[in-house]
Symmetry: D3
Subunit: 172 residues, 6 copies
């Protein structure tokens, strides 16, 4: 059991695979810091949601799933001006952590070069449960709600997420 873990993601949007990852991590750490990365990105086809909307999604999904939010911190972080500064930026923005959960090659490399232990997260029914697939279905008019927690689907409606994504897709 680690003291505090860091789970890194962009959560565009937060889906059931992410929820699975949070559960996986919470079995291995006492407190989990969920880093909402690329917090400065929104209104892009690959990053449609604001950091605030994603923080809200994570919180609501965890509550709905009955996860104890007192063991969790949800921290948004903008991208760094340089990859070489990113780990320093994370370390300055979240409480001290012992272990990192990530499957992203760049994230893994950057933390490993700074001496951190980085753990894989077993993928949950990939490639279906991926944010790319959720966004693809949203654009194609296919059923996407089944890939995300109910609370997330509700928030996406609330903020007009479907319309936003479709409008951004008109960009030539």
């Amino acid at each position: 059991m680690w003291c505090r873990g860091l789970l890194v993601g962009r959560f565009q949007p937060f889906h059931l695979g992410h929820l699975h990852a949070v559960r996986y991590a919470l079995e291995r750490v006492e407190e989990l810091c969920i880093l909402v990365g690329s917090a400065d990105k929104s209104h892009q086809l690959d990053n449609p949601f604001t950091a605030g909307e994603r923080v809200y999604m994570v919180k609501a999904a965890l509550e709905e799933a009955g996860i104890d939010c007192r063991r969790v911190l949800i921290i948004p972080l903008p991208d760094s001006p340089a990859h070489s500064l990113w780990v320093a930026s994370v370390k300055a923005t979240v409480p001290k952590f012992d272990v990192v959960f990530s499957n992203d090659p760049l994230t893994r490399r950057l933390f490993q070069e700074e001496g951190f232990t980085v753990l894989d997260i077993p993928f949950y029914e990939r490639p279906t449960f991926s944010a790319t697939e959720v966004r693809r279905r949203m654009l194609k008019g296919e059923p996407w709600e089944e890939l995300v927690p109910k609370a997330v689907a509700k928030i996406i409606c609330e903020v007009g997420g479907l319309e936003r994504l479709k409008q951004l897709n008109q960009q030539k």
Copy 2:
């Protein structure tokens, strides 16, 4: 009762007056977003602690005080490149909120010009309970621990906060 409130502060460090303000706000809103401002500032005489250390202080102090952390979000936010962009930056980084708690004139002005309701927080035994006073006492070797929650004093020790502040004070 408001749905979601925003409490803005730098928390350098989080003291008993801040705790009082959190309690005051939680009586008026269902969910409170505590914004840890100037998240990019640290290792300065006026801003000695990193955002991560301050997030940790707020969390620990709230837990110690028996406040239900499930009703709270703790969100760090760097300063904006321009005052005119700050409210937009807040809105993009935290979930939607209905009311702002702040006594800071600039914060109040910026939110008011954007049409937000901004509420005063009754000051708790000012000027004793202020972060400026805590830092002053730390530098002078006067008793500062009584101004902050026990959990905060412990974290300041843990991160070598006293030594950091004193070393920064040697800057000519």
Copy 3:
């Protein structure tokens, strides 16, 4: 009749379709603010001209067309570090406006989410009159001058725009 309108474009370069749009807008507003977007971009294949060169093109084209420049402001604005800050940046940089003219989906979305009225501009003989087509012709050695006001063609010559674009195109 609106009081003040905002017309958003990059004007790389300003062509006859843009001139048509300015005329269309000036029939609907008393004063028009022409926002020269991506002012920080230049010397790229998609953004060959500096903001200063583009401001100069707009001014010269309007004068040549007999448009009363006293009803017009030409304001350059750099891109924002985040889409979520862009409308705030516009609002801080130009005088207060009542209506936005734009066909760009992202621009429309961002202003609509902030509650602005956004009007379409009827396209003028698309796809011929587009900046992409002007740049394509410049690179291919096809007649491009007929797509832009005479004053703009003259400025492009003056600043060595054709040579610049061709040299940038050598980038592997």
Copy 4:
């Protein structure tokens, strides 16, 4: 007679001394570019007004004074990340100019080191007609309206400038 001149100022706010400077410059150049500097600054005691508000002040003051706005460009420009980049930033943002009007030592030095001709502007009844004096009077409740064009006083009222300045002054 120069072809195009550059007049540099912050215009916090635009006062009668500035108007005098514009007239002085327009006697020496065919076209004048008025650079509204520090466009990113606002809501500070020394920089209370946004760039948009200041652009609006300049335009309205010139119209009121019967100056032909067709000979004038009003261009806002944010501060540079480094003094050594500022002249390059100006050159990229405004049309080509032959001469600079400024009494500010740093502005003069930076342009002179890049080989520009920089002309002094005879001061108009200093120290009364200075932006510092206008802001001082606004804070003290002394008559400040007589120092600025009527149109500027009206705009300051319109945007709540007096209240803003007073509120910012409460900052401890």
Copy 5:
């Protein structure tokens, strides 16, 4: 013989063609400033090495080749926020120079527009000796060491460059 020359490159990594270019330039200038461009970029497929690693490569390669390092300055420089500011940024960061060596169209254009003399460097056995080819071979497991100075191959091993590149390549 020029007094001081500027040689511009990214050196991702420094290869034998670069060494040839340095020798070529040193025959034409008394002192050579080697600008390590895009110093802020690293941990990307096209820019795998940090500025520090690249400065180290250049220094070690020159020493190994028996070049007198007293005639050379190795200066890292981050990319500019705008192409229009880049030459000003170079001029502010390196000692005054008389001539620029570069085959890159954008670099050549930017310096030429500012009035600098820019000289071509005869390419050394292109396309074999190019950084793109070195990185391609590293990823494909083909012999890449023969394209770079021995000292550079050693540094790439030392910093785990091969593993870093392969790990970055897993990014989907």
Copy 6:
């Protein structure tokens, strides 16, 4: 004997105390990296010289003093957007180092918190040999040349440093 050392300074300008520090460090390391900090600052009363001018001063002073420049790297580095990112920025910009030489409290603290060994440099006839004193004398018309290496005095003349400083001092 350490392998590579880092000597941190702003060198505004480089004086005889700095030369003494370089000699002191070179007795303890095989290779010395001289970091020219605040490379983005110039044309300020406290930071009158550009990074390029300061790099030139250091190089010329070392050559004049008969120091073997093959053992030295001179690397300019801009200030970081946050103190918490500065050590990461240094590590990414210079080759790997084992020890840091600095008397500056903030520099010392930041490197110590990242686990570096930081060594004091015995001050050389303070307070006379300080950059603050050199700049003070330059402004007062007192003899400052005796505080800097002859080569530095020559460069300051060459770039018009005395006039620049005096002109900046006219800023109200």
